[in-house]
Amino acid sequence: MSTVTEQHNTHGDDHADHGLTDLGYIKIAIFLAVITAVEVVFSYTQDQLGAAFLPGLLILMAVKFFMVLLYFMHLKFDSKLFSLMFYIGLVLAVGCYAVFLATLHFFQS
């Protein structure tokens, strides 16, 4: 991970501090696959779920989104500056486009 050896202790420690092991990533991938399967099941059982369907689906989507972002993309373990750069974009996008859709009465039934 680092070519400048003065400021880091050992490579082994690096791995533990700075993210997951390969096995950890595989576990997350399996978890994501399971969530995806649950989502698909949701889409087939929409009537049974009733009012819980849409929020449930969106929550599952968000869980996957953030798991890839925080773990696979390492955002959880890296400098907060990277998070800031990305989240500004994400917040602006969600905010502006949600307001945009709202003005066009998208969220009204």
Binding site: T36, V40, M73, L81
Partner: protein, 204 residues
């Protein structure tokens, strides 16, 4: 490589370059680019959400989707994210051989995904859903088309990286380069996570 006397060690990033924050320029740039891509895909997704109901009776989302098929290709793309992480992990360990293996597998899975998209689109087209058929179709193809182009560019980038590692022609920090290509790839996967749910799984 010593720059000048007062460049404190904390301010040297992993590539050995001085920076005021100790962070890599390239990595910062990539995250900013990904932040801006949120606005790009956000615009395409919201346009799709606005227009998803504007179609003729028998050519709407519920009629046209093949959820099992799309679920399979979503799974493929998701797994490519895993293989990408394994590639980065190999690069961190200076394991060129496995880095190339995992990068190639990632590209292959990506290509499988794109092939699935192509198959899906040609099927829709044969069923009567062309680009200009309806607002639903235009916005659907535009959104997924943009995503598909991003994936394709990613595949080319990954294979190029494999070639460059083989010929030892990677400019700059090899580990970081693999990591940054990985960030781009994961982002493309993350966009698909949104698209799969919002476009395919939410009924009209």
């Amino acid at each position: 490589m010593a720059d000048t006397a007062f460049h404190a060690d904390e301010h040297v990033d992993h590539g050995g370059h001085y920076s005021a924050t100790g962070l890599s320029n390239n990595k910062l740039a990539m995250w900013m680019f990904l932040g801006s891509e949120c606005l790009l895909f956000g615009g395409l997704i919201s346009t799709y959400m606005l227009y998803r109901g504007r179609h003729s009776e028998n050519l709407g989302p519920d009629q046209v989707w093949d959820i099992p098929f799309t679920s399979a290709s979503s799974f493929v793309l998701l797994m490519s994210s895993l293989t990408m992480v394994l590639a980065v992990s190999s690069a961190v360990r200076d394991d060129d051989r496995n880095t190339k293996v995992w990068l190639s597998v990632t590209a292959l899975l990506g290509a499988l995904f794109v092939a699935g998209q192509v198959y899906e689109f040609t099927t829709f087209y044969r069923e009567g859903l062309g680009f200009t058929t309806s607002l639903f179709s235009s916005s659907f193809y535009t959104l997924t088309g943009f995503h598909g182009v991003h994936v394709s560019v990613g595949i080319i980038m990954l294979m190029s990286l494999v070639g460059m590692i083989s010929k030892n022609k990677v400019v700059g920090d090899k580990k970081e380069t693999v990591e940054l290509f990985g960030l781009y790839w994961h982002f493309v996967d993350v966009v698909w996570i949104l698209i799969f749910t919002l476009v395919y799984l939410i009924p009209a």
